[in-house]
């Protein structure tokens, strides 16, 4: 059991990209902390079913939506369905993200557009949709999942790095825009994790990361999820527009 099983009691949480890895861990951690959780996924029905089962095992009854975060119709329909089911939405976690481990010479224009669409436009579309019920309630949390690298010395595919930097700027500006409604917006920047996108990096790069990482280990999705839970909980009332690295000090 988590140390604070009631931390998100009564909260309605929507996690994008919730069927695998970090998104799934966030969905489960929020459920364990007492929240009702909905999540989206884009492709793999088996993964989504498995994540839904994990949320149920944690005591939840998830709403699950299939679609691309870059598809405005899917986004609007998802938020409308959550609000119809639960009467509102307290927390949006913009977690869905993709990457390709490619040198820039091999990044096609379509690759660039696809990464920017999912990683940046998706966060914008979901935030825009989620803000309607949040502004009405004059409360809410939007939590974006970025990537470490901000101020850290690391290699990263250029389109992925650009998309995550865009998300950092998006977080700053959005926090200022909606603070007056009591809505807090933050960015969590995970380091390379033991599971997930980063593990697709070349072996030499992973070893290099571990060598220079002060904690000398990869983080876990659960550790990042715990940080997310605190930041979107009622315990956080004065941190907004903040970039929180969860990377062992990389």
């Amino acid at each position: 059991m988590p140390a604070h099983p009631d931390r998100l009691a009564g909260k309605r949480v929507l996690v994008t990209g919730g069927s695998r890895n970090l998104g799934r861990a966030i969905a489960v951690a929020c459920t364990r902390a007492g929240a009702r959780v909905a999540f989206t996924y884009s492709m793999n029905d088996d993964d989504a079913a498995s994540a839904a089962a994990a949320v149920k095992e944690a005591g939840g009854d998830p709403l699950v939506f299939k679609g691309s975060v870059a598809d405005a119709a899917h986004v609007d329909a998802t938020v409308r369905a959550v609000v119809a089911a639960w009467g509102g939405l307290d927390v949006l976690v913009n977690n869905a993200g993709i990457t390709q481990i490619l040198p820039i010479a091999l990044v096609e224009e379509a690759d660039w557009d696809h990464v920017m669409s999912v990683n940046v436009k998706g966060a914008y579309l979901f935030a825009r949709a989620a803000l309607r019920p949040m502004i009405k309630a004059r409360a809410g949390h939007i939590l974006n999942i970025g990537a470490f690298g901000e101020g850290r010395v690391v290699h990263s595919p250029v389109h992925y790095a650009a998309s995550k930097a865009a998300l950092a700027g998006f977080t700053d500006a959005l926090a200022r825009d909606v603070g007056r409604y009591g809505i807090l917006v933050n960015l969590v920047q995970p380091g390379l994790l033991a599971t997930g996108l980063g593990q697709g990096s070349p072996q030499a790069r992973l070893e290099e990361y571990l060598e220079q990482n002060p904690a000398q280990r990869f983080g876990t999705v659960e550790e990042v999820a715990d940080v997310v839970v605190w930041l979107v909980s009622g315990a956080n009332t004065f941190m907004t527009g903040v970039r929180v690295p969860v990377d062992g000090g990389a």
């Binding site: 140390a3 315990a235 527009g241 969860v246 000090g249």
Partner: protein, 228 residues
């Protein structure tokens, strides 16, 4: 806890008491508040944080008593508010000694005693550690010094499972905020996303989160300032 009787420090100690976590804390002048916190189960030590040897001695005393701390929190500042024109060398030195050196000395004394055990260090500074806001030059230098210390210690001590983070606090509803120029405070709030001052309790919650629950955040220097 270095600096336990200040506006934020006392709120942190109250939170630790609620969490059932006993603390040793230092204070300098506020005996009444120190007594009150001691009644909540903490152990008060009157100590001048300008005196590095006294900080080392306190860590030594704790070790002798068998309680090498799992958490070290620095929440102290030397209250010298003189202007640029009036400040003398001694005033500058005192502000740096309490604001930066005390944290350095305590971490340096603590690290070898942990002997591989994990620990969390949480430092507090003013917003000028991370944002170009108006601040007394002596305080701004100390805050920026703490930011550098945080990043450097994070790298050096990470392999020893010691995490260290810095929270740069915005304007609160009391404490040193009482000394802030009213015009600046107004401007500050106009730019702050939440448009309000913070409370000691909400800052304390962020400190306690890092102190008691953190496992993989280190070298972080972030504002807790309502969106500045």
């Amino acid at each position: 806890m270095l600096g336990g009787t200040g506006h934020v420090g006392a709120a942190v100690l109250a939170g630790l008491a609620r969490a059932g976590v006993p603390a040793w804390f230092t204070y300098f002048a506020n005996t009444a508040r120190a007594d009150e916190l001691a009644r909540a189960g903490h152990r008060a030590h009157r100590l001048d944080l300008r005196r590095a040897d006294d900080i080392r001695a306190l860590l030594g005393e704790m070790a002798m008593a068998g309680c090498v701390p799992d958490v070290l929190i620095h929440c102290a500042a030397h209250p010298d508010w003189r202007s640029l024109e009036e400040l003398d060398d001694a005033g500058w030195d005192d502000v740096q000694a309490v604001g930066v050196r005390a944290a350095f000395v305590a971490v340096q004394a603590l690290a070898p005693r942990l002997a591989g055990r994990a620990a969390d260090i949480v430092l507090c500074a003013g917003l000028s550690a991370v944002r170009p806001v108006p601040a007394h030059v002596q305080a701004a230098a100390a805050h920026a010094g703490l930011a550098g210390l945080t990043r450097s210690f994070a790298r050096a001590l990470g392999p020893k499972k010691i995490r260290i983070n810095l929270l740069a606090l915005g304007i609160l509803d009391g404490g040193t905020a009482n000394r802030i120029d009213a015009g600046f405070a107004r401007d500050h709030l106009r730019f702050a996303a939440l448009g309000r001052t913070g409370t000691a309790d909400e800052v304390a919650r962020a400190i306690l989160w890092l102190a008691l629950e953190n496992t993989y955040v280190s070298g972080m220097v972030v504002p807790v300032a309502g969106g500045i």
